[in-house]
């Protein structure tokens, strides 16, 4: 395989994508919604920043006692603005990826251009790899535009990301691109398998629906069924008391480090029945989560949400994964720790498209071109 031929195919495919009406319309919609959500995010960010400043002032002026003693408000991160991009990325982004992939091979079969192309000095693997490269390039182009627009809007509204935040924005872009590639891989596989583009689109949408909507439901049902009934608390036991020092934060609006309502860890009792109950409850919850995770690992949406959450809000992501964990820390880790906790989801985001690309490759190499 020579790169010249591969790049010739990729260049043509990339050019076809970015000049196609379908791509331009969806991309335009994608950018408009990006701009709107970023604008809303910036407003929210500014509100949170104002509250943070007020809180800092309050903490400096007032002496706080009790479980809230020593708490520090958390400065809102610019990355919270990007959380709003996650929801439409999984919808419109997925549609964009499907739109550029579903007829990539089937259209060439229908128009018979594939046969004409193959009569020239090029191997089949160069064609399919070039098509993948061109498609990924077009999605990358869309992602770069969306991020450039977002950063431009941040600067216009005088929100300047720090170097770390800028790095996190780039990582968010890469993760989002990974999600788009996952559905692009599904679409191109179906395009290779199906004889007609219409069928390829239907097959792709069915898979999109199954992995995005049915799998999470299936995971919950499977967890309910396989984990059994939750353990019953012991009768007449003492009421648990919250241990204030381990209260964790939600920081949903970026206002406080903690809101005291999210995850109270019970403890401080010497009653063996309660201890047993707590252990059983913890084992039960972890079992449920494991079953749910196994099912959801096949869903690019779920994987994307978890990884993107780790990037945009590492503190919350860490907390979500350590609700019952004894490893809970006073100061949850940063981006690296959060990403470390979702390594399986990152791996799944890589493995999912790889499997579909491999299937595409095998099918395309064996395709009957009569």
């Amino acid at each position: 395989m020579t790169l010249d031929r591969l790049f010739n195919v990729a260049r043509k495919e990339f050019s076809d994508h970015i000049t196609s009406r379908r791509f331009i319309i969806i991309l335009a919609l994608f950018l408009v919604i990006s701009a709107i959500s970023i604008h809303e995010g910036i407003e929210q960010y500014n509100d949170n920043l104002e509250s943070y400043n007020e809180q800092l002032q309050y903490m400096a002026e007032e002496k706080v006692d009790g479980p809230y003693a020593g708490w520090m408000p958390e400065k809102p991160s610019v990355m919270y603005i990007f959380m709003s991009m996650m929801s439409y990325m999984t919808g419109l982004g997925g549609i964009l990826a499907i739109a550029i992939g579903f007829d990539l091979v089937s259209k060439e079969k229908e128009s018979r251009s594939l046969k004409t192309l193959l009569s020239h000095p090029i191997y089949r693997d160069e064609i399919i790899n070039g098509k993948v490269l061109g498609g990924v390039g077009a999605l990358g182009f869309a992602m770069v535009l969306a991020l450039a627009l977002s950063i431009a809007m941040l600067l216009v509204f005088s929100v300047v990301p720090t170097l770390d935040e800028f790095a996190a924005i780039l990582i968010f872009g890469v993760v989002s691109l990974g999600f788009l590639i996952a559905y692009f891989a599904v679409a191109i596989t179906m395009s290779t398998v199906a004889k007609e583009s219409g069928n390829a689109l239907i097959y792709t949408l069915v898979i999109f629906f199954v992995v995005s909507s049915l799998l999470p439901v299936f995971g919950t049902i499977a967890a309910d069924t396989l984990a059994g009934d939750p353990p019953e608390p012991p009768e007449m036991g003492p009421m648990p008391t919250p241990r204030g020092e381990v209260v964790r934060a939600s920081s949903g609006g970026g206002y406080f480090v903690s809101s005291s309502s999210q995850s109270v860890v019970y403890g401080g009792t010497d009653d063996p029945a309660w201890r047993d109950y707590e252990e059983a409850r913890k084992a039960y919850t972890e079992k449920r989560r494991f079953i749910n995770d196994v099912s959801n690992i096949l869903s690019p949406q779920t994987n994307y949400y978890r990884v993107a959450m780790a990037v945009t809000n590492p503190r919350l992501a860490t907390m979500m994964y350590t609700v019952y964990g004894p490893e809970m820390q006073e100061t949850p880790g940063g981006l690296a720790d959060a990403l470390g906790q979702v390594w399986m989801n990152i791996a799944a985001l890589i493995v999912f498209p790889s499997v579909f690309f491999a299937a595409t490759y095998v099918k395309f190499m064996r395709m009957d071109i009569r």
Binding site: D4, R5, N8, K12, D16, T19, S20, E108, S111, R112, S113, L114, K115, T116, L117, L118, S119, H120, P121, I122, Y123, D368, I369, R370
Partner: protein, 301 residues
Amino acid sequence: MIKTENLTKVYNGKTAVDGLNLEVGEGEIFGFLGPNGAGKSTTILMLTGMIEPTGGRCLVDGIEVAKDPLQVKKIIGYLPEDVGFYGNMTGEQNLDYFARFYGMNAKERKDRIAELLDLVHLGGVTQKAGEYSRGMKQRLGLAQALINDPNVLFLDEPTANLDPEGVREYRDLVEHLAAEGKTVFVSSHILSEVREVCRTVGLLAKGKLVAQGTLDEVARTLAPADGDAVRIVVETREHLPDIADPEIVAVERNGNRAVFRAKTDIRDRLAATLLDQGLHVREMRIEEPDIEDVFMAAYQR
């Protein structure tokens, strides 16, 4: 220039091409005849390196196609049946895309494409290929097959979508290419078309080569074996009387006209006999078997 040795292709247990042995010399215009489904296109796909044979091998200019398809593709041109293009690109853009696979620089591509578009009367056409008529696509197909100035040209049903003017131009082009020393392999199920341009033909039926040679040779090979009889058509001014000759096998009479089936050419004796009887001969000739009928019979075997 083109050679196949026991070439075989089996699709899902069905033999499409069955032990084909074929040889086409350099500079020949070879007609590959056969009914639809005979295996012509499958043979061409193997010869052009687009599918691999199940058995046997094929060589183009001494290169074994299955072993080095890319090298073969560099020296051949191929016009597929129902040729297709990228509908969102103009003819020029389509040709430019294909030309890039031959390592041609921008100027070479531009000059070659302009030359070819003029050749197929598509110069100055700015329409997208998706808006082309079938005839225009066929012309563009011919241009893309010639983009690399190939030594060997494979044409699969080349006149299928052409109007009479296009057919005439295609014939001139093929003659011109052959005069340049190029080998042209024309696959068709239309005998009249092959007859017009091809010097040698091969007849394929049910995946097997039934005959190969010049048209006359093939026609003789395929002629029904009815005792090697010679058919002599005779017409006289007067009513034809009975003629006794030991060589005559049968006579079909119709007034003053008759067709004699004889073991050998007895025209001289027949003429003398008729002259002796005072008859005036209007016509006397050997009736060749109709080539269309011969091929049709071979198709149906």
